[in-house]
Amino acid sequence: MSSERKLVTVTIDGVQVEVPESFTILAAARKAGVSIPTLCYLKDVSDIGSCRVCSVEVEGSDALLPACKTRVVDGMEVRTNTELVQSYRKLMLQLVLADHGLDSTNYCFSCAKNGSCELQSLCRELGVTESPFAPEKQTPRQAVLDANPFLAYDPNLCIRCQRCVGACNSRAHNHTLHTGKRGLRTSILAPFGPDWKATECESCGNCAAACPTGAITEKRRKAYRSWEVTRTRTTCPHCAVGCQLDLVVKDDRIVDVEPAPGPSNRGMLCVKGRSGSFDFVHSADRLTTPLVKNAETGEFEPATWDEALDLVVKRFTEIRDENGGDALAAFACSRSTNEDVYMLMKMARTVFKTNNVDNCARV
């Protein structure tokens, strides 16, 4: 706490800022309005400092330093955009690209994340289109783990940034996604393989939301390209946590959900919000026409809105006039909007003349 309060002054690309001494160079730069590219870094989730894309020059230091991991000190002078920094970043990005299994970005168009991949957009931003480091002999492709109904892991596209591990540990707090070793190299052990049911994974998808590339993805992602969709911010329809989410819409159909930073969910969702909150909207068995039961056959028959509404009005009026409003009742759904519930309640009290109105709060 006390270190939060002590302020230091640093200069970033000539801009002076005062920040708490607990800040990293990256945080200070964001405050100064200077943008530093990042890849493996994800605020509050992952800061392993492995990709080096955020490297900067610091006066008095021979080596370039990763902005996401280096703390500020008073009087520090930082340069984020020198030629040296630029070429180093490119080099690092070329290494990541090679690790991603590619010798150029020409393959990206076939990936589900094309257009919303952070590696791809960084490459474009820094002008990297090819990598001289790509392995001459292609390593054999590893099997994709996709037995989980919603999530898939393609190890071939993994860049070992470990943002997914950070998301499972410090967002979902579930600790089911680990790193392992494959030869000398770190690998990700994602619980989406054939034994997915036996793992502790809750299929919340917070790892997929954190993955910058197409390595861990929601399978829904395949159904659309990022430029084909629009997003609508709304509230999850399931439980009372009230998570904020974006419905991803293509051609008037919801194709996916993305987490949004709401006050109660702070960028997280659970499996129901992420994967179970919209299929029902487009379900083929939605009721689309009013139905009136034929008293003789007991079968439902389609009716026009006028026919159905007039029948409802006639019967409710008759019963009310014969027995008084207390013989009528109306229940609201505790999953519909405040505006809907208010109007139902108003209908019950003003025209049914009853206070027999309730909701399913008790069940």
Partner: protein, 531 residues
């Protein structure tokens, strides 16, 4: 909730979680509780089952279902004995402490341990841990309310917080986690027989007069009948017509036979729905409505936070907006109700509801609010909303205590029905599954009925993990699959109520809480046999 999810999971030293399984029923809250525990917050779990959080709990009181009031009275008893009463809070902000102290006198740790079937030392340790913490919230869920003594259970928990002065500040409070996404809103909006919007009482003539003026019509002065009492009233012929908006009581209400009997006793039943539900099959008229993704509006979450719902798609052709349907019925019954947009409806709500005075769509969409919603009470356009209730003063002035004694559940195990059954939710489905079961992957994760039974009972009954079993209560028999483990105590079983292939609500009892009339889902008596 009196507080926010953020402050109770970030600023608390101890969390007391009662009858709540947030990892499955409110998963994103569950994640934040796991985080709190990882960051050093102590967890006291009061729950009859070994739910997932049990492995993180510092103390787990695996109490007998239906004994929450005894537990709470026992904690107050210990707080008094241990000198953990916040004298200043009690004298300045509450009244009736002496009667409370007298009532809990007989709730000695030994007696409470006996009633609750827990270790007396754990109870004392839990009371001291909560009582001596700087900040500690009580968080509870339907495991407290769905009992014939549910309301008393809630008030008894509030006693603990009041006696110990843990209300009205960050990291404290008494925090019900509402079940469905807009239960809070439905109650706030006056879908209750005894209140208009914002809990304005139907029995208050000044309130009725205000609404008569605002709506330009005469209103019925009689307090209404609660939903769960409407069914008996229908069977007796007192209620003859019912308008059900988006509910499926055949699946979600206790004692299914009783519900069916009530629905078939009605002269006229209208169901407004998205799908042909089990309940809709009994309707005379079904009106197709619109889903949350096809409309503008707001939901109020368990923090009393009003947040926006926005239209993303047009949806199928044919259904109508629910507000359009209600408005048409009002007009056709002779009431001059214009068709309004959701935004205009919220303006009307705000004009008749003091606690919503500063809430409207424009403000919710503004930069000022920044996508964080507004927590009522929010009195006017300048009011920032109320994250923490009862700061400095109770909303009703002085806090009062409940002096309710422990009463056993209505239906306890006996020779014929020797096991206790409680019901609840699983992670992958929601209530009657009308929404979730239309996502194939969720059914693959969890798509059919099961019953959890203790290893010891299973052995005696010759039941193995995975055996098909028949479960019988006084009301009905169903079949399901046994899951044998130590999750429940011997003598106790547990079932989810989502699945129609063995829906526990055929078994549950329609005994109602004496005050709020919530059904006693959590406890009934059954026998289990191997098939």
């Amino acid at each position: 909730m009196t507080n926010t999810i953020e402050d109770i999971t970030q600023d608390s030293d101890v969390i007391m979680l009662v009858g709540s399984n947030p990892e499955e029923a409110h998963p994103v809250l569950g994640m934040q509780i796991r985080k709190a525990v990882e960051n050093g917050t102590k967890l006291i779990l009061v729950d009859p089952r070994d739910i997932g959080l049990a492995k993180f709990a510092d103390i787990h009181l695996k109490l007998r279902p239906g004994t929450n009031v005894a537990f709470a009275n026992g904690v107050v008893h210990i707080l008094i004995k241990e000198g953990l009463v916040d004298e200043q809070f009690v004298s300045e902000r509450t009244s009736g402490f002496d009667e409370l102290a007298k009532m809990v006198e007989s709730y000695t740790p030994a007696r409470v341990a006996e009633i609750c079937n827990i270790d007396e030392r754990d109870l004392i340790a839990a009371a001291k841990l909560y009582g001596s913490a700087g900040a500690a919230p009580i968080i509870y869920c339907l495991g407290v309310t769905e009992h014939s003594t549910g309301t008393e259970g809630v008030m008894s928990l509030s006693n603990i917080a009041m006696v110990n002065g843990k209300l009205g500040r960050r990291g404290c409070g008494v925090n019900p986690i509402r079940g469905q996404n807009n239960v809070q809103g439905a109650c706030d909006m006056g879908a209750q027989p005894n209140t208009f919007t914002g809990y304005q009482k139907v029995t208050d003539p000044a309130v009725v007069e205000k609404f008569e003026k605002a709506w330009g019509t005469d209103l019925n002065p009689n307090e209404g009948t609660k939903a769960t009492e409407v069914f008996p009233a229908a069977i007796e012929g007192r209620v003859k017509a019912l308008f059900l908006f988006g509910e499926d009581p055949i699946r979600t209400d206790p004692d299914t036979n009783h519900v069916i009997k009530a629905l078939t006793s009605l002269d006229f039943l209208v169901v407004q729905e998205l799908f042909m539900t089990e309940t809709a099959k009994y309707a005379d008229v079904i009106l197709p409505g619109r889903s949350f993704a096809e409309k503008e509006g707001t939901f109020s979450n368990t923090e009393r936070r009003v947040q926006r719902v926005r239209k993303a798609v047009n949806g199928p052709e044919g259904p109508q907006l629910d507000t359009w349907i209600f408005t048409e019925i009002m007009q056709r019954m002779g009431y001059d109700q214009p068709h309004l947009t959701a935004e205009q409806i919220m303006d009307e709500i705000s004009s008749v509801t003091p606690s919503f005075g500063g809430i409207n769509h424009k403000r919710l969409d503004s930069r000022e609010v920044g996508g964080r919603g507004l927590q009522w009470p929010c009195l006017n356009a300048e009011h920032p909303g109320t994250p923490i209730m009862h700061a400095g003063k109770f909303s009703k002035g002085i806090g009062t205590y409940s002096t309710a004694e422990y009463r056993p559940s209505v239906e306890l195990p006996d020779d014929e029905y020797p096991l206790m059954l409680t019901t609840g939710r699983v992670l992958y489905q929601y209530n009657a599954c009308a929404m979730t079961a239309r996502t194939e992957g969720l059914n693959e994760m969890s798509g059919s009925s099961f019953i959890e039974i203790n290893t010891k009972d299973a052995e005696e009954l010759g039941i193995e993990d995975g055996s098909r079993v028949k479960i019988t209560s006084r009301r009905a028999s169903i079949e399901s699959t046994a899951r044998v483990s130590g999750k429940t105590n011997p003598g106790e079983t547990w079932m989810p109520f989502h699945f129609q292939d063995g829906n526990s609500n055929w078994l549950t009892i329609a005994a109602l809480d004496n005050i709020a009339k919530a059904p006693e889902f959590k406890v009934c008596a059954v026998k289990v046999e191997k098939l």
